[in-house]
Subunit: 768 residues, 2 copies
């Protein structure tokens, strides 16, 4: 099945023609969200064909009992599942008593779906012939309001084309929903109360175990040819369903429409006893504004986001569509307002993987949010980890570490580990390094040191302690080694001396020691507080340094490269180019042992390290390692192509950089990994952004100076992006001949372009 | 809780005093079996306290849907579970309408349980005061007949001591049973029919999915003071229960007894439509003989077994009890009559681990069965693997191997893999080596080469092909390496160049090439058949040899030892003696990553190899490796102490050998691993036998000659064992001063004792 059916368009995702085989994929691709909630692009009306129903509320999860084949000490007992929440979008439609259901219609024509990314709405239209031969035209528009983030709105229009018809809209709420992803078929929701008042209905339900109290609500208005129809709808309910019936005898070519407003109030934001009151308040705001005005507000809110976050690409519609799709979904997933939320790997588009926070946040997402939002957003993401520090210390204690060593979980929702595969949970410890790196990176980019004495230093100390204890001295090597890890390349497990892990471990210690000194010198009170709390001492720092200063890095004299891990050169070194295509993707074709003993790399590992710490390596070194490792890389992780695109651009290999760019930006749109029906790859979308801004644009911060080395793929006429650098906005526009810089702000800024200092002034275009 | 409550006794396992906390452990320890079926020592009467009910039929299993946290390609979809079968031992007893239940009695005194290993029966006696104040004395005896292996018999006697009482025996059959070990709470049994005829009742039931048809049956007779009471019992039944009621007004001090005969007929042995007919036939044989005669036959059958298999130890009751307990359970588990059966790790004493066949069979059990049974029994165990060769080839194909390479499953019931933990299933491939070694060992011991051209060579070729393909050439080492394996020491996963695995891989290839030549020379027709079937060629053999001749073995010049695997010396080499006791057993205290990066060894690994291939190493080499590795060995596998006992004895470290011997022989009796309630460690029991015969007795076969180097722990006055060597029986009796050899057979035999040839003649005692 070819899922490459999305019509290229600069601003929209468009599907034409109805194909039941595509429904689940489209439900993912056309997903909408507003940071506080999100949903797959399920149909409002009944659909009896294959579908994956999903509506998600940020921060509401369920701790499903862990499933394993063989239990290991230290596994978490519960795994936080992304939780399908009660359905509020449903509108059953009957036409002369026959239910409208695209799966059973006699014919469906002119089917078109559009996700308008510029304005933040989803629409659908079609002409369907029912089994009773009535032909109806349907047009729907739906969005989740950025303004009123507890509310979504639907405009559902139906027009009988070949006869009069009695048509009923039955908007409903349903808490009798299930999760795709469940281990023991447990019930996840407990419905507490179903009620209604006039045209409004409410279902109060709480999650089992976690006791998140929610109120799902709705209110509707119906129209004939745009004129409001005043009706007293019939109400019906059962233990987890509430519905109204709006029936009207519709004349041929008359349009019967319903505006449905619905959504959730949650005790994360309200007193749990006042959820209905809060729901009424939200509904009141929404209905007072009305669908049209709310939609207008939506367009303005998205215009504001785009104004800051947009990247334009000229001369390559697919590339343009790809980057906007990525930026759009990142903004739908995380708004940055709430330090208790994070960026789930599937956002609001599916349930797979569970949990909401991976090292992806620090390694890939923070740069995007840092540059396209107010710096408060990135700071919230860092604060999230500070808030989880105690739990990270407890987690490390469970695994035998002591004295305040912290190991952040591989996957989490509330700070507790919720992953259970020993080679990942216990061994993919490099995640700790990315969390420290993000602190460094935040300060480097924003110049805001305040986070460090306030919170970051404690995080760094916990992490440094972990690395100090995790390394051991090898008498044989006369160096410190780190045994039994999984690096970023998850196609190696339980390896010794993963170069990336050893490198970032050493870096974490060095950076922490240096930062302690800096805080001690500049922030005496904070230092005292932290030193008192953590009981660090000179002796302890000296012990850390001993480990950092004597860390082992596997190296091959013969190949003149660092080795990804001990023993890498014992493998059968057949490059991916020489691997039979029928064997790929290897993660679908090969057993795990075969993958592990192969040289194939899932995602950048050593090259990821050279990306983070590029100042420590010459371009010649990078090139040598790129040439050695990339030929063995299968890029079967969504996080691989973006880093390779950046590195290839740095090495002036623009054709390769462009190929990697397309692969990262259109991963889901072109369904490279045959899994888009499960949801989208949200966190790697930030990597796509990096591959343009840092890859092609060559943006870095060096010595407090924003610097660029702009390049452009030959396929493009030009591209542009904006970044927020220390409260000033810089627009960078690149074409085949020149680069233009424009500054919004109040003072001159000296940047570096291709290594030369350039001073730019507010609102004056500089062309280079 | 101290579970060291078994009373030392030369021939019996005895428990005195009733302790509900011990019930589950005793249910394991007092288990009975006859090779065709077996059962935990559950009470006949109702018991409402904590109990683990288990009755098992050889070869009847259930393929439970596999449970994993994260699926890997190549995992089996189903896992063969040892299946709790319908209960036929149940006899509910009511005394004046109150059910007898030891858990709710007012008082229980004189509780005594005995498993008489010499005679093969289990008894229990106690005096209980019911809530209604009636005091009853109960005596029960139960056994599973070796003669009639479909039948078990129970004698249940009850005597009211302080008043007359109306007593009812309600013997029943119950197919409404469950498995302790179930992944999805599936129903495992489908009851087809419940019926009765006169005093006989039958439940026909089949297993779900596997469709094993069984008939569970019973017939009872009641007695007053030993005199038969003719009654017409009331019958009642429901959809999975059949019961008779025998009520009698019993006078004070009169003894009311029931003889219950029951068991299973199975379509593994009968036409599935004739199971009731077969059951009637078995019942007729049993009731005609009667309980007393059947028990007499049982004693004689066990006497025969002991006559050949017994090991006596003088001056150390605990050691004596230990070895007999081991020999007894091995004989209860596997009789060797049926080449489709094998030796489950828990025998008929529990469900844990599932499957019936591990490498334990070849590495530990075959020597025991070879020496204490007719050689046909060991041959049946080899034939079992030959019969699974096709499935082993299919298994290897699933993992990417080709050209007839065979990888035998880690765990199996029917030849298919039923283990799913990637580091074991896919990587613990040394099991293939043990299967080849058993072929070599069988021929070495029995002199019967015929198995090899008939079956064994094909197995060897499949295995050699596997190793040839599994190794790869390391350009760096200029040698063949084997990457990504788990060795016998399962506290290392996904390691490179496990010495044991590399060694046995090379050995398999060498032995196969040599054996092909031998078959070619001596068994031309077989050779032609096999060569035609397997398409082996000189070129292929040359390729194998290239791998075998250039296999890499990790070695440390500095320590002068082979390394268990690449990188072993990078570990923090703290010996077990220096490890805080609170940390042990590490598999219950540490997370998996910590175990993996520690130097601690679960069971003999390198030393296991030096045990198999001892001729290739000097004693000095053995000693050096023992001294290096044993200090890091935690012996947390039941299979570890036996090999260490043998090696310590070889090195004349008798105190250490004795300690290891006690640990292996009393592992379950003294519950070293705090898990005896789950069942017994059956396969390691054969290792216990080896630790006496090969360890203390020093028995080997060298150049077709049986040889001994007898030693004796100073704690013992003497010990003796018998072995069947090439159809002659040799009895070896060792005391502190001398060793005696006695031969049963028809011709002289030259053996070697401490390196000197000694000729022994039938029935003449030779003392050395």
């Amino acid at each position: 099945m070819n899922l490459d059916y999305i019509i290229p368009n600069n601003w929209s995702i468009i599907e034409e023609g109805f194909n039941p085989d595509q429904v689940k994929a489209s439900e993912s691709l056309f997903s909408i969200g507003n940071g506080a909630m999100g949903q797959r692009a399920n149909f409002e009306e009944k659909y009896s064909g294959p579908t994956f129903q999903g509506s998600y509320i940020a921060g509401v999860y369920y701790p499903d009992k862990t499933r394993v084949g063989w239990w290991k000490n230290g596994y978490p007992e519960y795994f936080a599942k992304v939780l399908n929440a009660p359905n509020w979008i449903g509108i059953n439609v009957t036409v002369n008593n026959e239910e409208l259901d695209l799966y059973t219609c006699k014919a469906v024509k002119n089917f078109r779906r559009e996700l308008n990314m510029q304005e933040g709405w989803l629409s659908r239209s079609f002409v369907a012939t029912l089994q009773n031969d009535i032909e109806v035209e349907v047009q729907t528009t739906r969005f989740l309001s950025l303004d009123l983030d507890e509310v979504g709105a639907i405009d559902f229009k139906i027009t009988p084309l070949n006869s009069d018809a009695e048509i009923t809209f039955q908007p409903y709420l349903d808490s009798g929903i299930t999760n795709e992803d469940t281990n023991w078929d447990d019930k996840f929701w407990d419905t507490l109360n179903v009620s209604h008042e006039n045209n409004q209905a409410f279902i109060q339900a709480k999650t089992m175990k976690t006791d998140f109290y929610t109120c799902t609500f709705m209110e509707s208005q119906v129209y004939i040819d745009g004129k409001s129809v005043v009706t007293e709808p019939a109400f019906s309910s059962d233990s987890n369903l509430a519905s109204f019936s709006y029936t009207y005898s519709v004349k041929q070519n008359e349009t019967y429409a319903i505006h449905k407003f619905g959504g959730y109030t949650v005790d994360r934001n309200h007193n749990k006893n006042e959820l209905i009151t809060a729901a009424k308040s939200s509904l009141s705001k929404a209905t007072t504004a009305g669908f049209v005005q709310l939609l207008e507000n939506q367009k303005q809110a998205w215009a504001k986001i785009w104004d800051m976050a947009d990247i334009t690409i000229e001369g390559d519609v697919k590339a343009q569509q790809g980057i906007r799709f990525n930026i759009f979904h990142l903004n739908q997933t995380y708004s940055g307002k709430d330090a208790t939320l994070n960026i789930g790997p599937k956002g609001f588009t599916g349930e797979k993987y569970g949990g909401s926070t991976y090292w992806d946040t620090e390694a890939y997402c923070i740069p995007f949010y840092m540059a396209t939002k107010d710096q408060e957003v990135a700071r919230n993401l860092l604060t999230y980890r500070y808030n989880h520090l105690e739990k990270a210390i407890e987690n490390a204690e469970k695994l035998g570490f002591k004295n305040g060593a912290a190991l952040y979980p591989m996957v989490t929702m509330n700070g507790e580990e919720c992953h259970n595969e020993w080679e990942i949970t216990f061994e993919e410890i490099h995640r700790n390094g990315a969390i420290a790196f993000a602190i460094f990176n935040y300060y480097r980019y924003t110049g805001d040191f305040s986070y460090i004495p306030e919170m970051g230093l404690e995080v760094l100390i916990g992490i440094a302690r972990f690395w100090h204890q995790r390394a051991n001295f090898s008498g044989q090597k006369n160096k410190y080694v780190i045994l039994g890890v999984t690096g970023p390349n998850e196609y190696e497990n339980n390896i010794n001396n993963n170069w990336y892990t050893n490198y970032i471990a050493k870096w974490c210690i060095d950076y922490t020691v240096e930062t302690i000194q800096k805080v001690k010198e500049g922030y005496g009170d904070d230092y005292k507080r932290i030193a008192g709390k953590t009981k660090i001492s000179h002796e302890e720092l000296a012990q850390w340094k001993k480990v950092a200063d004597n860390m082992y890095f596997p190296y091959s004299e013969e190949k003149n490269v660092y080795l990804q891990q001990d023993g890498f050169l014992d493998k059968e070194l057949i490059t991916v180019a020489d691997l039979d295509k029928s064997q790929r993707p290897i993660n679908q074709k090969w057993s795990w042992d075969r993958i592990l003993r192969s040289p194939y790399i899932k995602q950048a590992d050593l090259l990821q390290g050279m990306y983070f710490f590029e100042d420590k390596f010459t371009t010649e070194e990078l090139e040598r390692h790129f040439d050695f490792y990339e030929p063995f890389t299968v890029h079967e992780s969504s996080l691989s192509p973006c880093v390779h695109s950046i590195q290839a651009a740095k090495l002036d290999r623009m054709e390769q950089a462009y190929t990697f760019y397309l692969r990262t930006s259109r991963l889901d749109l072109d369904d490279y990994n045959h899994e888009v029906h499960e949801g989208l790859h949200i966190t790697s979308m930030a990597g796509t952004w990096m591959s343009i801004v840092e890859g092609f644009g060559g943006m870095r911060v060096k010595n407090d100076t924003l610097s660029f080395e702009p390049k452009i793929p030959e396929q493009w006429k030009g591209y542009s992006f904006k970044v927020n650098f220390r409260h000033q906005i810089i627009t960078v526009t690149v074409n085949q001949n020149e680069t233009q810089f424009k500054l919004e702000g109040d003072k001159d800024l000296t940047i570096s372009v291709d290594g030369k200092a350039v001073t730019i002034s507010p609102n004056l275009l500089v062309t280079i």
